[in-house]
Symmetry: C2
Subunit: 409 residues, 2 copies
Amino acid sequence: MFANRLFFDISDTQKIEELWGKISAEYSSNQIGYYNLPDENLTSDINTWSSTIRNIQNVVVIGVGGSSLGTKALYSMLFHEKKADTPRLHFLENIDPITIKKTLKNIKLEESLFFIVSKSGTTLDTISIAKIVMVHFGIFPNNKYFGKRFAAITEEGSALNKFANEYGLKSFFIPKNVGGRFSVLSAAGIVPLSICGIDTTSLLLGAAECKKEFFERKSTQLLKKAIVYAIKGGQNINVIFSYSDIFREFNAWYIQLWAESLGKKKGDERVGLTPVGLIGAIDQHSFLQLIIEGPKDKSVTFIRVENMADDMLIPDISLKYIEKANLKKDISAATLLNEQALATMKSVINEGVITDEIVLAKADAYHAGYLIYYFELLTSLCGLLFDINTYNQPGVEIGKKILLDKLGK
Amino acid sequence: MFANRLFFDISDTQKIEELWGKISAEYSSNQIGYYNLPDENLTSDINTWSSTIRNIQNVVVIGVGGSSLGTKALYSMLFHEKKADTPRLHFLENIDPITIKKTLKNIKLEESLFFIVSKSGTTLDTISIAKIVMVHFGIFPNNKYFGKRFAAITEEGSALNKFANEYGLKSFFIPKNVGGRFSVLSAAGIVPLSICGIDTTSLLLGAAECKKEFFERKSTQLLKKAIVYAIKGGQNINVIFSYSDIFREFNAWYIQLWAESLGKKKGDERVGLTPVGLIGAIDQHSFLQLIIEGPKDKSVTFIRVENMADDMLIPDISLKYIEKANLKKDISAATLLNEQALATMKSVINEGVITDEIVLAKADAYHAGYLIYYFELLTSLCGLLFDINTYNQPGVEIGKKILLDKLGK
């Protein structure tokens, strides 16, 4: 069960209907591909190919932004329920020599698989890291194992796809009409995750359920949230407060999705909403003070897991002089974590902050898929209210040009 | 060399003088203890004690917020230059059963050392985690090794200190007038870091140098930055864009310092600045779009390292069809990372965003110490301009009370 409870309401039914009309039109247009990703089935393609690859201990994703964040989010969230004896997943996403050296140190070529993930196929940092890896292992260009150790995930017909064809590398495709940051449920995420023992079938089922619930209008929470967030001069900082360390990378995925989709110039106007990702209970000792006492420019979404894996009791012992920290009998770590979320939520609501709560029955693949699709929908809705192009990122091109003018050949 | 270059200026010398007067007064009052931490010397106390502890492979910090973030920041930033054959440092900072189980799995009691770190000595999550660990290893209360495996870092006379005395545990002290989030250069950080092979002498030297530079008025950048940040309706979101993965935990430390210190009620008014921590080059593919095209409510501080450890060349090879990503000869990973920072900075300045740049000559302990003290000073300066108490956190007490009313004994 995925439950979303709003602690605010809006009564402007006309606005809700208008927004519903807009997203229905965008969905029906078939121009935005991510809406239909839960219905794609890549399983047989992946299985056919991966059955030819043996003894893999490590899978390495070489990619950045939309090519790594979503995959990382799901891998971290679902690591605890990953199938036994499946490969470990690693990420090379930064042209940082310290990280690259550290990651490659523990990886042997003969038991590893490298995915070069780039929608455009020419992402500078990604290709530069790929070159470092290829030369490090001496596998390119004249090594008969190149095609057994490297594969591409990209758009059909991209430069990377052509390169892969030239050298006999398998290519998996991200559909043309799916933007990088909306691509985690495409081959970009599904291929490495399923090879590493994540239950991608349930993942897509969860996303499909979110799609169905929304487009069959069984709930209006998403519409209402978007309308409240997009009001000018209102809550322009949108915090997600996720209770469990397993959500750390999910928060990073959300930050990209939100910031890059909604920060846009619109003629002379600049619009955008600022995402903040917090981890509970840790950040109760950090950012929370600013939410409680600082400017009223924030909304907060609490995310928690009702039934956590690997739960453990907090021993019912008393430490002399520290009796103040004693708890009732039979409180588990997960209970305390959830109660921390509830108490903090209450204190935030008391201050009149726009608040809602998402409760996942379990931190499993099904609920993770639901959660991903939920935030993608919320992003699309806010973009429609701002009347911007949610799916491009023109602002980052200038820096790329400055760089290539200086360092490019 | 620590260089800080502002790409903006202010001419209001009176305001600068006023602020200088305020911080000089606060400094001289001796009520705020962190200012003098670079001059403390804990080395002999630590060495005397740690010489009695043998064969330690793992040090575990049990603590949250100010008791873990700073230590984690410095450990991550300096891991690459840690002395050989020194223990690994781990953190138990969340009452999350998944993380606790994962961390304890690889730790053997007989080769480990646990620090319970809590200024007040009664932090609920910290004490609960400590109980889990004690019972997990069966070491409390009747085990002669308890005092060899556990130690406390707390305020003198706290409940935790009394508990430690009762059971023969060593206590290290955080001075009374040093708040948790300003405590990393006290025993809270210095004790575990030095035991784990971080050069804390250089760390404190760097901090002392920052202190000297500032209080001898060799530079006015900090004063100018604070004044620009604290202007009402100006840049209320303050981004640090740190180029290297080693800064990930430093960003988290900054977020606590900034949010918890500056988010305060002041009569009916609410003040505060919102911190955002980014990692370059990764977040060029994420939050950057919002900085470039979104609302002009942000300042950006670029942080980069001039000479990175473990640098490596990007191979000068050409991948057929992907020639667009070819670079000039002899570009290293660190060069590309630095040039990404410079190009991105140029594109941000072009948009008229309030920008400055911090360049560390090296990512070593000296520069890390300087950086820590620099941001602590900046925080104090903004607090003085807001005329708030920078060093308390009254807003987080409400949630604690709600929780204890429900779960406490």
